[in-house]
């Protein structure tokens, strides 16, 4: 057991920290993600990713031939940690970097990789995920958006929902039904759809936060070239499963959780309850301590999983445990912040006397969305019990 980083890794960390300090604009610190923010920020976000990529800090683990550095996972982890510590905003191209890119590298044609990977890395093209439908959420495999192969084109008709950033996206990776006669898991294909295609309509949906964070996307006779099929025809479910595993790991980011807790602790130390600092109240101390313990447990759990990745051990249901635990923990941290703030907790962003720029009630709501999205907690528990413990399915 060794928690230390090597001298080279520590030197690398210092280099990254120095670079971030010199290159992250102060106004970008704590900037909200695109879903919650201002469309005018898109250019600033693209510029930031481009700069970061130019410094060699984006998708470091990708093969060199596709724009990465074949770097080990520890280096990317160090960069990710340093970015969170510096309160840098999330990358606008995260969907492409963490989900589409690895999928194309595993299942895509050379042409698809050549066409898309560079633009994912330099933030020129933004991606959205076309999975959920009004009738297909947890039961994703029941999806109905139809793609009929006619000659060398697919004709796509249907609708996707909860599509984050569709209004800004250039491309969608989309699950469609190509064989309605087959059992549901066997009739799905994975298509790349150009969002500027005729017949694509994007309609924003307002989240409870008040932000147009996701969208409905309608397809009316949208023509998609056959070469935009990823993997084999009707094999889309296998391709998607690879992507879903990535999504669960992405959602379980322990460094972000630690950062949230630190903000909560600062809040509790600076706000008063009953005439004294909230952090002096014995009951609040108990609850803060319990949250800290859960946060620290996930931090060491992340080190353990990093080690398992380095040693190429199979991840098992670890991603589901991460997603379940981290999303609920983040929501509980935000809930505690509202408790500490009392009546101030529900003040809107533009109210006088608002605390922390109104970020906490927003976090409280948004984190609940993350408990649901990417596979609800209930679905994660099904996966953990069925695939992890071998318990019988269905009933």
């Amino acid at each position: 057991m060794d928690l230390s980083f090597t001298a080279e890794q520590e030197a690398f960390r210092r280099q990254v920290r120095t670079w971030i300090k010199a290159n992250l604009p102060v106004r970008e610190r704590d900037a909200p993600p695109l879903e919650q923010g201002d469309p005018k920020r898109i250019q600033a976000m693209k510029d930031w990713q481009r700069k970061l990529y130019g410094a060699g800090y984006v998708a470091m683990g990708w093969p060199k031939e596709y724009g990465g550095q074949a770097a080990d996972v520890v280096q990317q982890t160090i960069v990710n940690e340093e970015l969170v510590l510096a309160r840098a905003p999330g990358l606008i191209g995260m969907m492409g970097i963490q989900m589409v890119g690895p999928t194309l590298m595993k299942f895509g044609s050379e042409e698809q990789k050549r066409r898309h990977l560079p633009h994912i890395l330099n933030a020129e093209e933004i991606w959205c995920q076309g999975y959920s439908e009004p009738g297909s959420g947890s039961d994703l495999a029941s999806l109905k958006t139809r793609a009929e192969l006619v000659g060398d084109e697919f004709i796509v008709n249907g609708q996707k929902v909860w599509t984050s950033n569709a209004q800004h996206a250039h491309w969608m990776f989309c699950l469609v039904r190509t064989d309605p006669a087959a059992p549901k898991h066997k009739g799905i294909s994975y298509l790349l759809i150009d969002m500027r295609s005729p017949g694509v309509t994007v309609r924003p949906l307002i989240q409870m936060t008040g932000d147009p964070g996701f969208n409905e996307v309608f397809f009316e006779d949208v023509r998609v070239p056959r070469q935009n099929l990823v993997g084999e025809l009707h094999q889309g479910w296998q391709v998607a499963n690879a992507t879903l595993a990535h999504e669960r790991n992405m959602l379980g980011s322990t460094t972000v959780t630690q950062h949230m807790f630190n903000g909560l602790l600062r809040l509790a130390q600076s706000r008063e309850r009953g005439g004294r600092p909230a952090a002096d109240d014995p009951v609040i101390r108990q609850r803060l301590a319990d949250l800290l313990i859960r946060v620290e447990a996930m931090k060491y759990h992340a080190f353990r999983q990093l080690t398992d990745t380095i040693k190429k051990r199979p991840p098992g249901i670890g991603a589901s445990v991460n997603k379940l635990v981290s999303t609920e923990l983040n929501h509980d941290i935000a809930a505690m912040a509202l408790e500490v703030m009392g009546s101030y907790g529900l003040l809107a962003r533009n109210a006088r006397h608002v605390v922390d720029r109104g970020s906490w009630p927003n976090e409280f709501m948004f984190t609940l969305g993350l408990v649901i999205g990417g596979g609800t907690s209930q679905i994660q528990k099904n996966i953990i019990s069925e695939r992890g413990l071998g318990m019988p399915r269905g009933a």
Binding site: M1, D2, L3, S4, F5, Q9, V74, L265, A268, Q269, A279, P282, R285, Q286, L288, A289, D290, L292, I293, R294, E296, A297, M298, Y300, H301, F303, R304, L306, T307, D308, I310, K311, I317, G318, V321, L324, V325, Q378, Q380, K381, N382, I384, S385, E386, G388, L389, G390, M391, P392, R393, G394, A395
Partner: protein, 377 residues
Amino acid sequence: MDFGLSEEQEQLQQSARDFLARECPTALVRELARSEDGFARGFHQKLAGMGWTGLIIPDAFGGVGLSMLDLAVLSEEMGRAVMPGPFFASSGLAALALINGGASALKKEWLPRLVSGEAIGALAFLEESDRLDCEGVVARASKTRTGYRLNGVKMFVLDAHVADFLIVAARSRAHGENGICLFLVPRDTPGVTVAPLPNVDQTRRPCEVVLRNVDVPASARVADETKGWKTLSRVIDAACVLLAADSLGGAQRALEMAVEYAKAREQFGKPIGSFQAVKHLCAEMVSEIEPSRSLLWYAAYAYDHETRNAARAASMAKARLSDVYARTTNRAVQIHGGIGFTWEHDMHLWFKRAKWNEAAFGNATYHRERLANLAGF
């Protein structure tokens, strides 16, 4: 970055698991639970034969000289087996008190005997107040011409009734951390009276120890007056890590028993494990146990390698695993339904151990407050 068990530790874990599955089945646990002492010297000798009684004792004294993480791995397996007996008190607490305390003559005399299994040690520090801070030590050590005279009542002293010696915490000054001394007191010293306290968790044997004018020589002092509390604090931190490890092993086993039962037991024409409510309880257990394992490993590692974080980490592990083991066994009993509530079924062995582990050396509430202080809230 290599966060995990080494190959040797994995081997230690597997060999301990196999050994205890063979040598410490629940039949033995129940037999020892029924017995007067809760202790079988033959079984203790087997542990010595495996090298475990000296696992953490430096090889200069005949031990194996391994780390807190190694001892935690072993303790996890012992918790998995709800193993009764004085191992924790003797090869854990008493051994660590001697190792950390520093009196070399005492180490030379007693550590090899702990290693061989011929001697059992016990740690006597809690009193009637059940306070874990230094003011909980009220027992007095008055200086005499040849040494010290000890007076007081010690409570919840694990395995004092079978111990050959007790490490007793007493104070030479009225208040404060300074003035707390540790003394090695052979159990048969005149004035020492041990009364077992029958316990709901029958795998643990706490005792009341009354000290009435117990005279010990100056050489009985385990640590200098200025180091007594420091030594004791380190031992308490170790106790937290080792109990957390015991809890981790027990929780894992309880989960496995619940899952196995749920797969086999049928109601409404299907295994109860196919019902979502039951599946979700099991998934929740997994999602609490696995990150706790990581936390425990860190606490054991920090004890040896990050001493400035050791106390914090010990409190985190103890608080978390106390909650997790108790919650897991509560769920496991419920998943077993009525049969989980019987004496005949084994489930209550883990259920009770969870509650004892929770209360011993500070419960979750105590350790959360301690963490709040150490973390500077």
